[in-house]
């Protein structure tokens, strides 16, 4: 309750301050921030919010863009595809034409149809599903690597470094997890390593003993898991209890300090592909300090991708001297730009040309170190 009131108060005062600066300045430019502010994945929405708000603050401090001050407007889609469409319509309705978001791929996907038609520039900082950029849309970009890139990374590591004899690929039957798992399986198979098992589990399930017994029976020595930390945490914990000791590997969705809380010691040595920790990058030192000073957490995986999304937009505005989204889109496609996540360059589809993922070793205290 307290938390809620605090946020309300904060939000209220923020709006007041924004209102005041708005009246003081000649013009403001609204940046829509679409993502979950409520619902089970609201914590990821918070990361996005922290990044976007920090970026807006920094840019405004430096005098804004083309003489305009930026203003972040929060739109809550609760990661529900149905609400995402309603929110997208609302954004168009409010005359906002620059959006950072949405967060969940399943929400981003239906929303892009609307943005493309209405000429709203959208940069997602968290949706990794390849199909989002496959429709040939002009207005859709992202500041995060694709699932398939992460899959390639993982498959390469498995083939070159881990070199297991019997691999199992397990996923959580969700867009993100299954997409990654399929990509890893296919690339392993293309290089002559057939997965002995490819299986889905139910997300939200708690009992994986049957699956573990099956893995044990198949003598699996390497498991790639496509999905998020709650299920993998339980799989690790139950594997340790049942004496099943294979090497586990997962995508960036498992890189969360909660994984160590759930699985305990079993986390030690688990492999994960994850974006470079941007908050560890010395370039971002001042930004990390500023965010920490506000009592917010700068370490979330989407904080700096969201920060960079704002930068990509505003730098294109500064370079073209306009806010026209068609001009911006073609400028972003054509030019590389320096951001908090490094130099960003786009291909025709609106995807990053360079993968920003690395393979990490996870540790039981929740930290991670780059794997050899």
């Amino acid at each position: 309750m307290n938390q809620f009131r605090k946020t309300m108060l904060g939000l209220g005062s923020a709006i007041c301050i924004m209102g005041m600066t708005a009246s003081a300045q000649a013009e403001t430019l609204k940046i829509g921030l679409a993502g979950p502010a409520t619902g089970p994945v609201a914590q990821y929405g918070d990361m996005q919010k922290i990044g976007v708000m920090a970026a807006i603050e920094d840019i405004n401090k430096a005098g804004g863009v083309n003489g305009m001050m930026l203003e972040g407007v929060i739109y809550d889609d609760a990661c529900d595809p149905k609400q995402a469409v309603a929110i997208a319509n609302k954004i168009v309705n409010d005359g906002v034409s620059h959006v950072v978001g949405h967060l969940c791929s399943s929400s981003t996907e239906p929303a892009t149809d609307i943005y493309e038609e209405e000429g709203v520039l959208m940069i997602t900082a968290a949706s990794t599903s390849p199909s989002i950029t496959e429709k040939g849309y002009q207005m859709v970009f992202r500041t995060i690597g694709l699932d398939s890139l992460q899959g390639t990374m993982a498959a390469q590591y498995i083939l070159d470094t881990a070199k297991p004899s019997r691999v199992a690929v397990v996923h959580d039957k969700q867009q993100y997890g299954e997409g990654l798992a399929t990509s890893v399986r296919d690339q392993l198979a293309a290089n002559g390593l057939e997965a002995v098992m490819f299986e889905g589990v139910t997300s939200g399930d708690k009992d994986f003993s049957a699956l573990i017994a099956k893995l044990k029976k198949e003598d699996v020595d390497f498991v790639y898991y496509g999905g998020y930390h709650p299920e993998l945490g339980l799989i690790l914990r139950q594997s340790a209890e049942k004496g099943f000791n294979a090497q586990f590997m997962g995508p960036e969705g498992i890189v969360n300090s909660d994984l160590a809380k759930i699985a305990g010691d079993a986390v030690e040595g688990v492999l994960a592909t994850a974006p470079k920790s941007f908050d560890q990058n010395p370039v971002n030192e001042a930004r990390v300090a500023a965010i920490s000073a506000k009592g917010e957490d700068p370490t979330g995986p989407f904080v700096f991708t969201a920060y960079a999304a704002v930068e990509v937009m505003t730098k294109a505005m500064a370079a073209t001297g306009s806010t026209d989204t068609e001009k911006l889109a073609s400028h972003i496609r054509a030019n590389a730009v320096d951001t908090a996540i490094g130099t960003v360059k786009y291909d025709e589809k609106g995807d990053l040309t360079e993968s920003t993922f690395l393979v990490y070793n996870l540790h039981k205290d929740g930290s991670k170190t780059p794997a050899q």
Binding site: N2, D80, P81, K82, E109, P110, D113, K261
Partner: protein, 420 residues
């Protein structure tokens, strides 16, 4: 009596304290990787004790409060309507006015409101469909969302693989949903109420899991995207026509392009569908089959002894309800342009059921009203969105306690004998 009351109030306050203490008063928290507990802040404790105080006082003065509420007249929404005779003459005019307003309204308001209205209309359709099953036939269906999913996926798949148009798919979606209703209903309608509830619930889950697992056809959790939008006699509502040489709506009528045409067009389709469904159900209710549904709900044994075929009647209600959900599903897929199994979870079934119950089981006006309340209220109360589901649950409990007959209780067409 008073001392008794006092003890009662103390007891209630004590229970509240126990309930609040361990859930609100103590919060689980993790420090590093170990679990720890954290006490509530002073402010939270004040809230807890405030709540305990309220419970204590309300128990202490419960009889006074009850009598106070007893004096207050229950809101009678039905009484707002004019008398029956006047109603008969007024009704066509009222309806005509209402429909005109519904048709003109979208041109005057913003795109967001029209879109929200479209969403509301989808829920109205779903509510009306479930109303037949639960409200009229008295069959508790907890997996109604399955038929909604069947409708949505039918259109999405036909459009994706065969490029069929929305208008051709609409009847097919409804028909296929009806077929599923028939196939499910045939074996399970022999079961008693509560078993029926769990079987339908299970069926809803099975459909969702199958859609999620059948990746080769349904795209699994990726869903289906790029579902074609409805067209007006072949005229598209996009900026540029998809096929060479074809004309879009604004080119044909020589208007400048505006994206809100599409939103308004979708809304108008929804209005037409709802009017069609309302009309159809209204007629059905007055037909022998509609009477039979209600009769069966009231007394199954009496109906059977009067020679009514129990299975056929239940099955017809189930099938017609399912086909309405199929309609709504196809339309939902068209509005959304993208569907995935995530949109068809149990909570959706629960919300549709809540619409039917809040509206007043069996009452069409009530269901429409409840659907509007249920979709608009959360939009208005976005700031309270954290509390939205909490209040939603509480509302369901309280409604059942104080107004189990719903917002607008059902009124059957009936004759009253005047007392001599």
């Amino acid at each position: 009596m008073t001392t008794n009351k006092f003890y009662n109030a103390i007891f209630a306050a004590g229970i509240t304290f126990i309930l609040a203490c361990l859930m609100i008063g103590v919060k689980l928290d993790t420090e590093g990787t170990t679990l720890a507990v954290k006490g509530a802040t002073t402010e939270q404790w004040m809230w807890i004790f405030g709540g305990i105080g309220v419970v204590f006082l309300s128990q202490l003065f419960s009889s006074q409060i009850d009598s106070l509420f007893g004096k207050m007249p229950k809101p009678k929404l039905g009484a707002l309507l004019p008398e029956e005779k006047k109603m008969a003459t007024l009704k066509p005019w009222l309806l005509a006015a209402l429909i005109t307003v519904m048709l003109i309204w979208p041109f005057m308001v913003s795109r967001g409101s029209v879109d929200l209205a479209t969403l509301t209309l989808i829920y109205i359709m779903l509510g009306l469909g479930l109303n037949i099953v639960v409200g009229l036939a008295g069959l508790l269906d907890l997996g109604f969302v399955a038929f909604y999913a069947v409708g949505a996926y039918t259109y999405a798949l036909l459009s994706e693989y065969f490029g069929m148009s929305f208008w051709a798919c609409l009847p097919i979606s409804a028909g296929l949903a009806a077929l599923f209703g028939f196939l499910l209903g045939f074996p399970v309608l022999r079961l008693r109420g509560d078993y029926l509830a769990i079987v339908t619930l299970g069926f809803g889950e099975i459909i969702r899991i199958l859609l999620n697992n059948w990746t080769a056809v349904t795209g699994g959790p990726n869903g289906i995207s790029g579902i074609a939008k409805p067209t007006l006699f072949g005229l598209e509502f996009t900026r540029r026509a998809k096929e060479e040489g074809a004309e879009t709506f604004h080119q044909y009528f020589d208007l400048s392009y505006s994206s809100s045409y599409k939103v308004i067009f979708l809304y108008l389709i929804a209005v037409l569908l709802v009017i069609f469904v309302v009309y159809l159900i209204n007629r059905l209710m007055r037909m022998p089959i509609g009477r039979a549904w209600e009769a069966l709900r009231e007394d199954e044994i009496a109906c059977r002894s009067l020679g009514l075929n129990r299975t056929a009647i239940k099955l017809s209600a189930f099938t017609i309800g399912a086909s309405t959900a199929g309609f709504a599903g196809a339309f939902f897929a068209a509005r959304q342009g993208f569907i995935s199994p995530e949109s068809f979870i149990f909570i959706e079934s629960a919300i549709i059921l809540a619409i039917v119950v809040l509206g007043g089981m069996g009452s069409q006006v009530g269901v429409i009203l409840a659907a509007i309340v249920m979709t608009i209220l959360p939009e208005l109360a976005r700031e309270f969105s954290e509390y939205r589901m909490l209040l939603f649950g509480l509302l369901m409990v309280l409604m059942m306690r104080w107004r189990p007959e719903g917002l607008v209780p059902m009124k059957r067409p009936h004759l009253e004998l005047k007392q001599q």
